[in-house]
């Protein structure tokens, strides 16, 4: 679970604001839940910033897993994006309107037909 860093800056109107909150917000959904994320973040970073730290269940035991390395090495952040499974959340930039889902076990064949 992540939160914006506490880097307080003064905006032009003199009001303190978080640097990271200045970027435009994008709408997306996670398991059908409407959420927003910062434009420029990856899917994995967006999920962490939204308090979601488990994004898949393993094919072997069904154990919950979440982003571990954030650099494309560990494949723990695999999610279903717009119907396509096995996407590395840490490598995919968030886009407006994305439908992101928990990946349950292996990539499902029907997902590939999207």
């Amino acid at each position: 679970m992540f939160r914006p860093m506490s880097e307080l800056r003064l905006a032009s109107d003199g009001k303190a604001e978080h640097d990271a909150t200045r970027a435009p917000r994008l709408s997306f959904s996670f398991d059908g839940r409407p959420l927003t994320g910062r434009d420029g973040d990856t899917v994995a970073a967006t999920l962490l910033a939204n308090g979601i730290d488990a994004c898949r269940e393993t094919p072997v035991s069904g154990a919950p897993r979440g982003p571990y390395c954030m650099m494309g090495v560990c494949f723990e952040c695999l999610v279903v994006i717009d119907g396509v499974g096995n996407r590395q959340g840490c490598m995919v930039p968030l886009r407006e309107g994305m439908a992101i889902e928990t990946q349950h076990g292996r990539r499902q064949p029907e997902e590939t037909q999207a």
Binding site: M1, F2, R3, P4, M5, S6, E7, R9, H18, D19, A20, R22, A23, R38, G40, D41, T42, A45, L48, A49, G51, D53, A54, T58, V60, S61, A63, P64, R65, G66, P67, Y68, C69, M70, M71, G72, V73, C74, F75, E76, L78, V84, N86, C90, M91, P93, T112
Partner: protein, 486 residues
Amino acid sequence: MKAVAEIGEIADHYDLVIVGAGPAGLSAASRAGEHGLSVLLVDENPAPGGQIYRSITTTPVSDRTVLGEDYWRGSAIVARFERSAASYAARCTVWSIAPEDSDLPGAAFEIGLSLDGHARLIMAGQVILATGAQERPFPIPGWTLPGVMTAGAAQIALKSSAIVPKGRIVIAGCGPLLYLLAGQLAAAGAEIVAVLDTTPRRNWSAALGALPGFLRSPYLAKGLRLMAKARRNLRFIGGVTNLTAEGTGRVSSVRVERGNATQSIACDTLLLHHGVIPSVNLSNAAGCLHDFDETQHGWVPQLDDWFASSVPGIAIAGDGAGIGGAESAALRGEIAALDAARRLGRITIPERDAQAAPIRAQLERSLRGRRFLDLLYKPAMQFLAPPVDETIICRCEEVTAGQVRDAAKRLGVTGPNQMKAFLRCGMGPCQGRLCGPTVVELIAQARGTTPAEVGYYRLRPPVKPVTLAELASLPPSEAAVKAVVR
């Protein structure tokens, strides 16, 4: 620099294809461009910088004191690359590098690329792998629980998204990056409840021999400053001998052993770090030979003075050539690019040597003191070969340390490739990146031999998953058509 947005914009042939847009790849591309080579720089990430200069052009962290001046050095490296004539394919994955057997002039390699779900095969005369490093696996019981991450992961989140773990953070392990990250997270306002240092006390005697080099190194002042700051401002617990991440569904505490004493520390996030090792998946799959480096305790490609690998035409620069840090990575990239220009006949050997001489001098300076750090921060054996049988070591296939030990002892499995056949370790999506070093270490320990003797996984392309649909949509080559016509 010419940014490539779609895979169709990539040319069929380049003099030089460089993989990885960290300091080594960026510097190699800039230097090669200055010598008139046609260059394609391919990188998986959305923006240049690699991991060390991650998001240097896009980071939302504007207070320069948070990430430190060493991070901001990356701006100049990227700016030079942007002025070059090189093509740059971001979000593009190299999944294969194979020798090209056609007689096309200047086509030595066939490179498999994937961008936005579309694959392409292109030709390259020379290849420089600048795929850098990854964090050494840190297998402890419970390290697969959500909320347990690598220290590097938290650093990436900070650099690229200006976010920090929420709630109580425990940082565990050893090495310069650990203390750097603790300082960066603290500066970003994160709540670090403890730094658990696993540096084995006996490492000091091994490292002392390398102390003179360290005393003359650029690391010294920087390192001491980092350590002093971390120790002054944070709860620092040294002499940690074992760790267990505990929790149901996610991490809620970490059990800390210091010799015979045990304590439990409640936390919301546990960050692990035991140094970095070269990323060998692509070089291994391309057929480059690797040796086990005792000092760095990891697999390092066999390279000559120009960073040329055992496969003629493939050079390996940056931390992928052995861990040396950001500054040396950039210098290695320059040297590898000069030799690529020489092999392509753009410069003569005397020209290459003259240009490389001052870079080599800088490189030597930048590597001074590295040996001391390698020896001091070599992880203790219990973190390389986990003693608790239930510890998961292959995260993808959920294979435990006990299973690997049992197969090595009872079934007499002698190497990691045979181990795959019995246990499937290393056969999941990460292709051994997170279990390879541990599997090798466990086999070596069980059989009373060394990692060098045990060997490593034989990796094969594709080094990153590509769909069958992508492969099926590749245009067939003339040879492929001929092969099935009759």
